[in-house]
Amino acid sequence: MKSRSRIRKTVLIVLGIITAAVAAFVLAGPPVIKAMGIHPEYSGQRYLLPEGKALIIATNHDELGDSGRKTGVFGSELTAPYYEFQGGRMHVDVASIEGGEIPFDPASFNYFIRSDYDERYLEDPVLQNKVENSLPIGDIDFTGYDIIFLAGGWGAAYDLGFSEELGQKISEAYAAGAVVGGVCHGPLGLLNATDENGTPLVKGRRVTAVTDKQVEELNITMTPQHPENELRAAGAHFHSSTAFRDFFASHVEIDGRIVTGQNQNDGPEVANLMMNAAGGSRR
């Protein structure tokens, strides 16, 4: 009799400890991951470009090779610049190579890593609508924009760097004075663009993007283009930061009107530096 009550007591204590551990994990998980470097809170200077227009371009590709694993744009690489540009009072359009629905990397909105911007997106029917009905780049005059932002994600490795049309349109926008750039796999979209003299846009320019190290670390090597590799091959001065996993690193490069960020952590900073480069004022 006495031993049974003791067993019951032990079971209750163990259950209590397990519950507490799970609760601690769920509650402490997001801040711990944030502190490690994923989606750090942006506390730098913010900028204002009222009456300005920004275009965010993302991928249409939704599958990692023939592995059957889904991919697309990494959520915060689209949501963070969108809300930062909106905070800068800009008009923001969302486009993709073919138009229509932009797929999200399934990891984007994971409870432990999603950013504040992602949470806003999940409750914002306006942006959801823009993502589901993105504009095809062929229908857009890029010269009407002050800022062209290329969002990344593994899906971008399949179409941004292969689109001659995108390269052409970015060249036109750059010639018209726009600030161009992006984060993660997004800068692949700069590969086919040229400057006013017809030389490749990234040649001899300081840029950053996803590192080969990160590609190796995450073991997603089946994509057709790897940003560090491709940008170096195109003659860019590639710079980056490293961490014990590059997924946690943050790095931004500014070279005139080209602003790039290493990965999903840099969207807010790149967006604000682009507004600054476009002549924005402090806010």
């Binding site: 009222p50 009456e51 905070g87 004022s281 806010r283």
Partner: protein, 505 residues
């Protein structure tokens, strides 16, 4: 044989009541901990900066939590004497209130709180008495015996008599203490008694969206001998009168821009300035290009009214020559986008350009007097010129909106198919500053005290203050005041103090 107070039922009832008192106090303590902003407003004190919130949470929060915890402990366990602890604290709270009532000219707001505290004390005392009579405890603990000692009872009695006496004779005492001054105070306006310095009053702090606590925007600035009224939104003239602002002494009315919520009361304001002082010169109205159109229009619309006033009251009240307004265009901005529009008797008023497109030009104003300074932003996005003008000022009065709250409104409007309201809530975000941006401006410009007006969206209850301010307090560690109509900030010349009062509560 049990006595009535010692009866089981009485004992149980008093016990339950004290537990309720404990619960209420505990909840108040928790409320202070989680939302000191709200408590600071509900307790009728003005909101403060990070340090103020810190002490509010720590001191007031600890007081309430402590009282609540001991009251619950005393009523839920057999150690009923523990109820003495919250009871003693409540007595001290009552003493503080009574003293304030004697000294403070505006005591009526706290009557409710006082009554509640007295009820709490009675409940706790009854519980202790009832328990003592119930005979459940043969030997009283040391503490209770100590409280029952003659020496303590005599002192306590004296204190109670003193407090009660003060309370009963407070009219006589206050009359004696202030030697008739209080009567003079009531008849004189607070504004007339202000020391020499720079003073800012908020006669209207709302926006075009209906707000039951805020009328259209209007801010007055008293600088030494000169009195300026910046903007006159709908309903603000009445507030100026209620705050006993001496309208007849107005030096000039300054308009930041010509949105209806900034000029809609100009007719009433010009009439009152004219007739309060039987002025023979029209009111001087200064504003950006276009001010003549506005003033001429009002003059024309109210020319008939002016005739009736003269016909009825004559020169003693409404001399014809003083009716309406005289427009003066503010122009000639220097390379720093500012121009001094008034420089007399040590008072300097600077107008500067702000960003409120498509309203262009739109102005902000800076006032300097006696080593003190204030900037009134008008309606603007975060603006570099304003930031430069605000460098080191004592008070920055800035318009503020919370975009997240407006976005919720937009969605609600769409859900209820009020499309126009939703569009407005979205559109206005492109020409007003967000609340956190104002905090960054205050931080970067080294402003001493940030006052937010033109609150958008209207905040229906003070419980939403923290939500409205968002991360602002983390950005700017000076005091941030979320404005209400009737607030007055006094800055005596050549000092550092900023005293605030609330003239419309």
């Amino acid at each position: 044989m049990k006595t009535i107070p010692g009866h089981n039922t009485v004992n149980m009832i008093t016990r339950i009541l004290s537990a309720i008192v404990g619960g209420v106090l505990l909840l108040l303590g928790i409320a202070v901990f989680i939302m000191p902003e709200v408590i600071s407003t509900t307790f009728l004190s003005l909101s403060t900066g990070g340090a103020g919130i810190n002490s509010l949470r720590a001191d007031i929060g600890a007081l309430f939590l402590g009282m609540g915890a001991f009251a619950l402990f005393g009523s839920l366990t057999r150690y009923r004497w523990v109820l003495l602890i919250p009871a003693v604290f409540l007595c001290l709270v009552v003493a503080g209130r009574v003293i304030s009532m004697v000294l403070d000219p505006f005591p009526t707001n706290t009557i409710g709180a006082l009554v509640m505290e007295i009820v709490f004390i009675m409940v706790l005392s009854l519980a202790i008495i009832s328990h003592a009579f119930s005979g459940k405890e043969q030997t009283q603990p040391e503490t209770v015996r100590a409280f029952a000692s003659y020496r303590f009872l005599i002192v306590a009695g004296a204190v109670i008599v003193l407090i009660a006496g003060t309370f009963v004779f407070r009219p006589q005492i206050s009359a004696r203490v202030w030697s008739g001054g209080i009567v003079g105070r009531m008849s004189r306006s607070t504004i007339e008694d202000l020391p020499d310095g720079l003073h800012v009053g908020l006669a209207g702090t709302g926006a075009p969206m209906p707000d039951s606590q805020r009328v259209g925007i209007s801010t007055f600035v008293i600088a030494g001998e000169h009195k300026f009224i910046v903007d006159c939104g709908p309903g603000s003239t009445l507030n100026l009168e209620l705050m006993q602002f001496p309208l007849e002494e107005t030096t000039a009315v300054l308009l930041t821009h010509f949105h209806s919520d900034h000029i809609g009361d100009l007719d009433e304001l010009m009439l009152k300035i004219w007739t309060y002082g039987a002025r023979t010169e029209p009111t001087l109205v200064m504003g950006p290009v276009g001010v003549d159109t506005v003033v001429d229009g009002y003059n024309k619309a109210f020319s008939l009214d002016a005739k009736y006033r003269y016909a009825h009251h004559g020169d003693a009240v409404a001399p014809s020559s003083g009716a309406g307004g005289r427009a003066e265009i503010i122009d000639g901005f220097g390379p720093d986008e500012s121009v001094v529009i008034f420089d007399r008797d040590g008072v300097k008023v600077t107008a500067f350009l702000v960003s409120h497109k498509p309203v262009d030009p739109a102005l902000g104003f800076r006032f300097d007097y006696g080593g003190r300074s204030v900037v009134v932003s008008g309606d603007t996005l975060p603006d570099e010129t304003l930031m430069a003008q605000s460098r080191g000022v004592d008070i920055l009065v800035h318009d503020a909106m919370n975009p997240d709250m407006l976005n919720v409104m937009t969605r609600a409007s769409e859900a209820t198919s009020k499309a126009v309201a939703g569009t407005v809530a979205t559109d206005i975000q492109t020409y007003h500053a967000f609340v956190e941006e104002t905090a960054r401006i205050a931080r970067d410009a080294d402003v001493k005290h940030l006052v937010l007006n033109q609150i958008l969206p209207p905040i229906p209850a003070s419980i939403l203050h923290s939500a409205f301010l968002g991360d602002s307090r983390r950005i700017f560690d000076g005091p941030i005041t979320l404005s209400y109509d009737g607030m007055l900030f006094c800055m005596p010349a050549d000092s550092n103090s900023i005293n605030s009062q609330w003239l419309l509560q």
